[in-house]
């Protein structure tokens, strides 16, 4: 089956769309109330978490569940830097990303020591829970069980308690990171990542340093999710250890799978859909685990490549790996 690649015209349309969508979203706050705005902000954070996650389990094909750890590291990193060191929150975003990347480095150290497959899954789960234990017990730094409030701050005279202001910052961060990730995945690096997934041995025979590819992918994933953590600390205004437990893992899985393993567009789509749907299910509390569990099972059996594959079939515009040929 041949994949239809987008024509030059479709490619132009697509890059137009890529910027048109966020441009239109600038107007979103005019159509929301604080509640829907809050949900929209949450979608942007989920999109980044899912994006970082799908890179490792989808593109690199590694069974690593360290994303909750990266997320917590980012959120606590941002909160500690802002509350204890007094850094402006905006500045803590890239720093939280860097801390997340450090987490990614540790996770890849396991992968590079030959801990793969189920072992990697188990050790990364343990990593996440150890981090959570750390948040609980490093009380002077993290506030322990009482959590940590984010200090109030303003930007251009507007308080960061405004969901609208948060939205613009979140949107900017999300668009930048999605764009950078797309650049990455469409480059030689992105191909190398997928090559490692498909056949690590053959990849090395093409002068591709597979260890470095694994390391960098984990670190970039950690960076993206770490940044998302920084957004989350501002989103809720408070960080608690309970926000970074294993209970949240199933939602991430569902988002990755519904969107389509290894797809940037799918990550965003899955996150938006599955952040919105539970809000509609608010009237039926307690359905969430059942709901996400059934979705994951259904997608695995019926639509293993997720929504992204349906979209690709609809129009070549949605093919993510396109080539930038000379004009």
């Amino acid at each position: 089956m041949s994949q239809t690649m987008p024509t030059a015209k479709q490619r132009r349309l697509r890059s137009l769309l890529f910027w048109a969508v966020p441009a239109l979203l600038l107007l979103l706050p005019f159509a929301t109330n604080p509640y829907t705005q809050f949900i929209a902000n949450g979608m942007l954070i989920s999109a980044l978490v899912t994006l970082g996650f799908t890179l490792v389990i989808g593109n690199l094909g590694q069974l690593a569940f360290a994303n909750t750890a990266f997320f917590g590291i980012g959120a606590y990193g941002s909160a500690i830097l802002a509350a204890k060191l007094g850094l402006p929150w905006l500045l803590t975003i890239p720093l939280a990303g860097a801390l997340g990347a450090l987490g990614g480095f540790l996770a890849s150290a396991a992968a590079l020591r030959g801990i793969r497959s189920y072992y990697l899954a188990i050790i990364t789960l343990a990593f996440g829970e150890l981090m959570r234990w750390g948040y609980l017990h490093a009380k002077p730094l993290t506030g322990g069980t009482d959590g940590m409030p984010m200090p109030p701050e303003t930007l251009f005279g507007t308080s960061f308690s405004s969901d609208t202001l948060k939205f613009y910052v979140f949107l900017a961060v999300t668009v930048l990171l999605v764009k950078a990730t797309l650049n990455l995945m469409r480059s030689r690096f992105g191909r190398a990542v997928m090559a490692v997934r498909e056949n690590e041995v053959a990849t090395a025979s093409l002068a591709i340093p597979t260890s470095r590819v694994i390391l960098v992918t984990f670190m970039w994933s950690g960076f993206v999710v770490g940044c998302a953590g920084a957004l989350f600390s501002r989103h809720v205004g408070y960080v608690f250890p309970e926000s970074f437990g294993m209970l949240h893992l199933i939602a991430s899985f569902a988002m990755v799978l519904v969107g389509g393993l290894g797809s940037v567009l799918g990550a965003v789509l899955g996150a938006v859909l599955l952040t919105a749907l539970p809000e509609y299910l608010r009237a039926f509390p307690g359905m969430e685990e059942l709901f996400f569990g059934l979705i994951v099972a259904a997608v695995l059996v019926l639509m293993p490549m997720g929504l992204a594959s349906l979209l690709r079939r609809l129009s070549p515009i949605f093919v993510e790996r396109f080539y930038r040929e000379a004009p």
């Binding site: 600038l26 706050p29 005019f30 929301t32 109330n33 604080p34 509640y35 829907t36 705005q37 809050f38 949900i39 949450g42 609980l136 017990h137 322990g144 069980t145 009482d146 959590g147 409030p149 109030p152 251009f156 005279g157 507007t158 308690s161 405004s162 969901d163 609208t164 202001l165 613009y168 989350f232 989103h235 809720v236 205004g237 408070y238 608690f240 309970e242 926000s243 209970l247 809000e279 608010r282 509390p285 307690g286 359905m287 969430e288």
Partner: protein, 392 residues
Amino acid sequence: MKIFTTMLATAALVASPLLADDAEWETWGLTDDAITIGVMGPFSGNASSYSKALVGMMAYYDKVNDAGGVHGRKLVAVQEDTACDSAKGLAAAKKLISQDEVFMLQGNSCSGVALALRPTIVEAGLPWIVAHAVSDSISDPMAHNIFHGVPTGSANGRAMAAFVLSKPDTENVAIIEHSNDWAHSYSNPARDYLKEHGVSPSQELTMERGQTDATAQILKLRQNKPDFIIAALYEAETAIFLRDLKKYGMGDIPVMGTAGTDLENTLKRTGDFDTVKNYYVIHSYVDNLDGTLMKPWADMIHKYAPDEELSTFSFVSIGSAEALVAALEAVGPDLTRSKLIAALEQVHDFDTGILSDPITWTATDHQGVKSSAVAGFVDGEPTVLKAWGQPY
């Protein structure tokens, strides 16, 4: 950048209910025959047993409504789930405030969620009666629209420590607890109270949820031989702890537990009176759960929620609902949010007939319940106590 800030300002203008017409804001969520009240709580998730408090509270609304409501208005609860998760709780609060446009809020069981909600609700300005969560930081520093309607963590914790010290010759006190915010909300104020009275805990141990064995902890205690043990543990772990305590021959050491456990259930769980005969719990009520003073409340809950199983949580939020109704009565038919807040601040020494201590809200202090009673076995009978050896 200028365009951006203009846009931001416009957006804020459109989005913020604060800037809407004041008069309209005052009566938001109010009609001639209904007062909408946003009830937030963990109706799902791993803390959902706490939501029993809100079920009891809503049963009280129903009771008031059956009696004709308040000045002809029914209390209409709009229920939202927080799942005890801060992000979900924030979404729930924002939904109630800006989409359902409720008149006021009452509820919330998880302290973490309540803390995360505080800035948003302070900014929104509508009255919020905290009906279950205990963390002091929810209402301290005081916010003009937030009222605490249950004994706070410090009230409970201090009551625990006060009871411990009321036993003559208590010097060596050990603490065992879960490492979560629930346990710390009891143990930290208890520590403070002990320190204020010149006693520092001789031993601090943790026991995690789900552990089925306390051997390691008990053996450490055995070496220390404390006079009294403060145990901030959930029900199951409490039972295991008490059982192991007795097993290792330390059944005579009194143990002070939290409001999260009750005597009858603990007795049922250990199945042995000897094990629990020296166990005391914080008990915020005027009587034993199956006592005569509590029976009408139990009947009320069963009338409106027939399938509901009762637990110690079931009654805890009703007192604050009584105080709310009293304040609403006092305001009269011409109700506004500001008037309600003013009326709540007039609630003084309000005897709820259910909480062991009265509710008092003033213009400078919104933490309404200052202390709590203790329950323990006296001559084999469960008894509500004021202090060591002093029945309530």
